[in-house]
């Protein structure tokens, strides 16, 4: 009987041996484990270290950076998780551990946990605060649209915009709205509109879909872009019942893309009827003013104030008549007075005139046109003229008698 020599292992060999056993076990290659996270550590390298435990037991676990980067939620201590991974041994410590390839919050979907986590984080930062909400312009001239070029949403938006307010220009920036890179594309589109100031208001959204389809609108990069946008953003993701992070950050949430278009522009027909009522109002106000002025005139006319000019004119006319009569009278009397004065003066003149003297019976003797006043100026036989009141005597002096 041969007693076999016992094999002596080094620790290294032991761990390698056990590791080999674990690694070859089919069950341990793809295993699901539920438990609660504790001692959670996120290493700067991106690897995640934790202990998974339940009421009575615990096991170490690691998730390497490559897998960890695909997680949509942040693991936290105390969080119940469902883990998918492999079991192996870590030779240095001789302890076996769980190598996590994927992990989900237990009970709730990973996405809804991620949603709640991001929502909480951004809310704490104030990104949803009403004080940051910008007003949507009343009469935009350019409406920016960020959505898939091929989806139904873009047609819905175009239809509503052209029905309600064709005066505005629609600027479309086609964007991927689901799948890898969608969130980055949406964020880029928002930055683009802002960089080139290419719109007065932005509609960001897509039609309905599963939570995975809508996921891009729950990504932080989109939330940050919407928050940073100087241009007011209307968020329009999915249906009425779908809420996304983008909705919370946006300046206005629309239940659907069509509704977003309605919120973005005024209704042309409403504006037209508003204009019409303005017109009617202005017309009425002006008519009222005219009527008021007219009745004012009438009142003035009735009160006699308006008759005033006519009355005054008549008065003036009467006064003028009176004055002109007076003037005439005055003139007449003045003339008469002058006449009398004249007569008096003429009388005086008459009294002085030699003719007047003559008329009283005196005669005037003239020789060669000169009045003869002395007899010594005349000789016998001189011819003289003797003027009487009614004519002239041609006479020859026949004798002279000196007084």
């Amino acid at each position: 009987m041969i007693t076999p020599t016992p094999t002596v292992y080094s620790v290294n060999e032991l761990n390698a041996y056990v590791k080999r056993i674990l690694d070859n076990d089919e069950n341990l290659k793809h295993i699901f484990v539920t438990g609660e996270i504790s001692n959670y550590k996120a290493h700067y390298s991106g690897h995640l270290y934790m202990t998974i435990k339940d009421e009575s037991a615990s096991v170490k676990a690691v998730m390497f950076a490559g897998n960890a980067s695909r997680l949509r939620f942040r693991p936290e201590n105390g969080m119940k998780v469902l883990i998918f991974g492999t079991v192996s041994l870590f030779p240095r410590d001789g302890s076996y551990q769980l190598y996590i390839s994927d992990m989900q919050p237990d009970g709730m979907g990973a996405l809804s946990v991620a949603f709640e986590q991001l929502k909480k984080k951004l809310a704490a930062e104030g990104l949803f605060s009403d004080s940051y909400k910008k007003p949507i312009p009343k009469f935009p001239t350019r409406i920016g649209v960020i959505t898939s070029e091929t989806g139904a949403a873009v047609q819905d938006i175009f239809n509503v915009l052209s029905r309600r307010f064709p005066s505005a220009e629609v600027v479309l920036r086609p964007s991927q709205v689901q799948g890898d890179g969608a969130a980055q594309d949406i964020a880029k589109a928002i930055y683009l509109f802002n960089e080139y100031n290419a719109a007065d208001v932005l509609i960001v959204g897509r039609g309905g879909g599963s939570i995975e389809d809508l996921w891009a609108f729950n990504e932080e990069i989109v939330a940050r872009a919407v928050f940073a946008s100087e241009i007011p953003v209307i968020s329009a993701v999915g249906h009425e019942t779908d809420y996304t992070i983008c909705d919370f950050v946006a300046d206005l949430r629309a239940p659907t893309p069509s509704a977003a278009a309605e919120l973005a522009v005024p209704d042309r027909l409403e504006l037209k009827s508003e204009l019409l009522s303005y017109k009617q109002h202005i017309l009425n106000l002006t008519k009222n003013k005219l009527d008021k002025e007219r009745s004012k005139l009438l009142a003035i006319e009735k009160s006699g104030a308006l008759r005033d000019p006519v009355t005054k004119l008549n008065e003036n006319r009467r006064e003028l008549l009176y004055l002109s009569e007076r003037i005439t009278n005055l003139t007449v009397s003045a003339v008469d007075g002058n006449k009398m004065k004249y007569a008096a003066l003429a009388g005086k003149l008459d009294a002085l005139s030699p003719l007047g003297v003559i008329s009283r019976g005196y005669a005037l003797a003239e020789r060669h046109g000169k009045v003869v006043t002395k007899v010594k100026d005349i000789s016998v036989n001189d011819e003289i003229s003797v003027r009487l009141s009614d004519g002239t005597l041609k006479a020859k002096v026949i004798g002279i008698e000196e007084d």
């Binding site: 042309r268 037209k272 017109k279």
Partner: protein, 66 residues
């Protein structure tokens, strides 16, 4: 006009307020009336004549007609 729809409406409101106040002389009232009706018809034209323009924003900021 297109930049001024809002401004035009504001001016219209002013005109209405002035007319409602009614303290204007008749001549000023008629001036306001004709300014107001001119604004209204310009605004109406802006709303009626338009055919929606759709462009596409490119990454370099330029716009492509659709």
């Amino acid at each position: 006009m297109e930049q001024n729809y809002e401004k035009s409406l504001k001016r219209l409101e002013e005109i209405v307020a002035l007319l409602e106040e009614g303290g204007q002389p008749l001549e000023k009232t008629l001036e306001l009336f004709s300014e107001g009706t001119a604004l209204i018809s310009a605004c109406g034209k802006y709303l009626d004549d338009a055919e929606q323009k759709i462009t596409k924003l490119l990454d370099n900021g330029e716009k492509d007609a659709q």
